[in-house]
Amino acid sequence: MKCKVCDREIVEDDFCSMHLKAFKNLVERYDCWRKALRISWKEYLSEIRHNPLTGECTKEVASYLIENEEKRNGEEI
């Protein structure tokens, strides 16, 4: 089984070890962002995706989550 974001082997939650760490960091840091700027999860992912300081793998996970959220919303509509 391959990672949902890249071609590497899955470790947990359908992510490889690299993207799993990025995903966990994303979830962990959202609280900081929410307190700092009072933004939603979706807005947070968008900010992260465009921030030049964000790690490469984190951007990939953020993009994946945004696209999948959009797909899910599209299917609902």
């Binding site: 690299m18 760490k21 994303l26 700092a36 300081l53 964000t54 984190t58």
Partner: protein, 706 residues
């Protein structure tokens, strides 16, 4: 038979050195008249000196012997049977070493005394020992040892008259053990990885790892992972621009990071249109102590900081300076300079050089010379210091810079500390505290002797008193983000290896270079490649002990104990093999899976090295430097071509080497490709056919032809 003019030398002392330059210096130092007779036998130079007795000095070319498997031509693994063999038998391009050994062997036949004058450290001891044992028919037991830290005439003469009665066998055992353990790890693990990848892809590529390489790559991979998975978090800084005597100064809010925008805005709003009051002025005087004498690690660190020389480059320059008798032995971990080296004599000699004259004599005028020293010591050599000798030949620019750095450091360590004054002014703006900081150098002390490598600091603050009121020009709120951990560079990586006590001062720089050569890492601000990650993941999964720092440290500890005579080499080797056996078995069982992972990672890494930019046409594929299998021609093409989605391509010059330059075209901002053609200056090519620079060039050529 050895001839010296018309005489035949029947008996003589044979001295073996590590390198040719050292042989010339030793012969010249020992000859009573300083005149050396150079002889050449089959292309191998050696030197005759006369000081009552006849002395023959013959150089080696570094290690002439190495560890190899007992079965020749074996490429499979595991391999646990090994022996010491001449390098020319097992290494490509080393055939001249065979001639070298034959000459040394011939010279040793009629020698009535043999002396090992290789560098006095682990590697030098192994070099001398292996030559004496194998090339000189087992004469290592009776050989004597010269021990010196510089190649100056005085020290060489002294070390010749004060010979050590035997070789240091504990040091040799430790050196042999290190080579053998490194070989066992390296050959078995590297073959496991290489063979796995080769079997899968049917293409050969050397994939290596080792006892020190593995853990080093592991902490690079850990750092890389932190960077790739980094999530920045926002924070705010607040500064107040205050006016004192028509000058504007910046004072910072007491909290470095304000965590919420609401809080930051509230502070700014409460400070607006308010005056500031000085609550306190805190002044401190700090002593800035002189730096420590250079050991190899700190020299490499400083050379990187100042000149951007990699650790390997610095070591090579330092080695050349040592062989030219300009500095002491560089491969030292000592931070101490014992008085025996003769501070006064060295300073007197440095005083003959115009550049150092006034400072050298200023130091000599002092009643006592006591250097600042560190805690680390090395039983073999002191810290690195200049000998005071003048260069006999013109130094290259990098040699001059490094030599100057070593001289300046040597002088600075004898000088008193510098005195700095720091000032912190606490300013209150409507109940919010701000800090205005400054510093100045009250007394330069050692900084003056170390200039320009360290400069006195000056960041002045106004003279203010408690209770004074000043006006606020502006309050500025800046939004910032936390930053990812910084990348290692060759110097900081070396420091980390030193801190973790893995590798030796002689091998660390080479290991970093090997990681680069194997394409596990790239660039000066070190990035780990996909291949590097895959190698570490494979090793972590199937043999985690091999990349563990603990195991490597334990081995280093055991080798130190061998050196102290407290541990047996045989036992360490036996234990190493017992650790490796199950590891190798596991790697063999999983060879197919490992091979697939490594081959794919290798392909991906090599492709990434050739990526130029995102394709400007389809915007999804990457432009990569490719070679057509059909025509053999080189060009830039889009990776989406393989999906059948994009046929974008651009021609490239067919000669020379082409790589991403790292710069963009000034006219069209496309990434450029650097072309290196032999005999011509490298140039940056913009491959954009629509670029306006091409019109300009066309017009220029037309004008020139008119």
């Amino acid at each position: 038979m050895l001839r010296c003019g018309s005489r035949i030398l029947s008996k003589y002392t044979l001295i073996i050195t590590e390198k040719p330059n050292a042989a010339i210096r030793i012969a010249a130092a020992l000859d009573a008249e300083g005149k050396v007779k150079k002889k050449v036998d089959s292309g191998v130079p050696y030197y005759l000196a006369k000081r009552g007795e006849s002395v023959v000095v013959v150089p080696a070319l570094g290690h002439l012997y190495t560890v190899a498997g007992k079965k020749r031509g074996q490429s499979d693994y595991p391999v646990f049977d090994f022996q010491w063999v001449p390098r020319y038998l097992v290494e490509r391009g080393a055939s001249r070493l065979g001639t070298w050994l034959k000459v040394i062997s011939r010279l040793s036949e009629n020698a009535n005394r043999l002396i090992d004058a290789c560098d006095y450290d682990i590697e030098g001891s192994v070099i001398g020992y292996s030559i004496l044992k194998y090339a000189c028919s087992g004469k290592e037991k009776n050989a004597q040892r010269m021990k010196f830290s510089t190649l100056t005439k005085e020290e060489l003469e002294k070390s010749y008259t004060e010979l050590l009665s035997s070789l240091n066998f504990s040091l040799i055992e430790a050196g042999l053990a290190r080579h053998e353990v490194d070989w066992l790890y390296g050959i078995n693990l590297s073959r496991a990885l290489t063979r796995a990848a080769e079997k899968y892809s049917e293409k050969y590529a050397t994939l290596s790892t080792g006892r020190v390489q593995g853990p080093t790559l592991k902490f690079l991979a850990t750092r890389e992972k932190s960077i790739k998975c980094f999530v920045p978090t926002p924070y705010w800084t607040i500064k107040a621009k205050v006016i004192v005597d028509d000058a504007v100064f910046e004072a910072w809010y007491e909290k470095n990071q304000v965590e919420t925008k609401v809080e930051a805005q509230a502070i700014v709003d409460s400070c607006r249109s308010k005056t500031a009051e000085i609550k306190n002025v805190i002044t401190r005087t700090i002593q800035q102590h002189p730096p420590l004498p250079f050991d190899l690690g700190s020299l490499q660190g400083e050379a990187y900081r100042l000149f951007r020389y990699t650790p390997m480059y610095t070591l090579n320059i330092a080695q050349r300076l040592y062989l030219n008798a300009l500095i002491s032995y560089p491969r030292t971990s000592s931070q101490k300079l014992p008085p025996e080296i003769g501070y006064t004599e060295i300073l007197k000699k440095l005083g003959r050089i115009a550049k150092y004259e006034s400072q050298a004599y200023e130091l000599l005028a002092r009643s006592a010379l006591k250097p600042t020293e560190g805690k680390k010591s090395d039983p073999a050599h002191p810290a690195i210091y200049p000998t005071g000798n003048l260069p006999q030949k013109r130094l290259s620019s990098s040699e001059r810079k490094l030599w100057d750095l070593i001289v300046k450091r040597f002088m600075a360590i004898f000088v008193e500390p510098a005195l700095m004054q720091t000032t912190k002014i606490i300013i209150d703006i409507n109940g919010n505290k701000f800090h205005l900081r400054g510093k100045c150098t009250l007394k330069e002390g050692w900084l003056r002797f170390y200039s320009p490598y360290m400069k006195p600091e000056s960041d002045l603050v106004p003279l203010l008193k408690k209770g004074e009121k000043i006006s606020v020009n502006r309050i500025i709120m800046e939004d910032k983000f936390t930053t990812p951990p910084s990348r290692y560079n060759p110097s900081s990586l070396l420091k980390r290896m030193e801190k973790e006590e893995i590798g030796t001062k002689a091998t660390r720089a080479r290991i970093i270079q090997t990681l680069n050569t194997r394409e596990y890492i790239r660039k000066e601000k070190i990035e780990v490649t996909d291949l590097g990650f895959e190698v570490i993941d494979v090793l972590r999964k199937y043999c985690p002990a091999v990349v563990s720092l603990e195991l490597t440290r334990k081995l280093e500890e055991r080798m130190k104990r061998i050196q102290q005579g407290k541990e047996k080499r045989r036992q360490v080797l036996h234990d190493t093999i017992e650790i490796l056996k199950p590891v190798i078995e596991r790697l063999k069982e999983e060879e197919q899976v490992i091979g697939a992972r490594l081959s794919q990672a290798l392909m991906k890494t090599r492709l990434e090295d050739r990526v130029v930019s995102i394709c400007p046409v389809c915007k999804k594929g990457k432009l990569v430097i490719l070679k057509s299998r059909k025509t053999g021609k080189r060009f830039i093409g889009c990776t989406n071509y393989f999906e059948g989605n994009c046929k974008t391509s651009f021609p490239l010059p067919q000669k020379g080497v082409a790589k991403l330059s790292g710069t963009v075209c000034r006219d069209c901002s496309w990434n450029t490709v650097k072309i290196w053609i032999r005999g011509k200056r490298p140039w940056n090519l913009c491959f954009n056919p629509e670029c306006s620079s091409k019109d300009k060039r066309r017009k220029k050529v037309e004008m020139q032809s008119l």
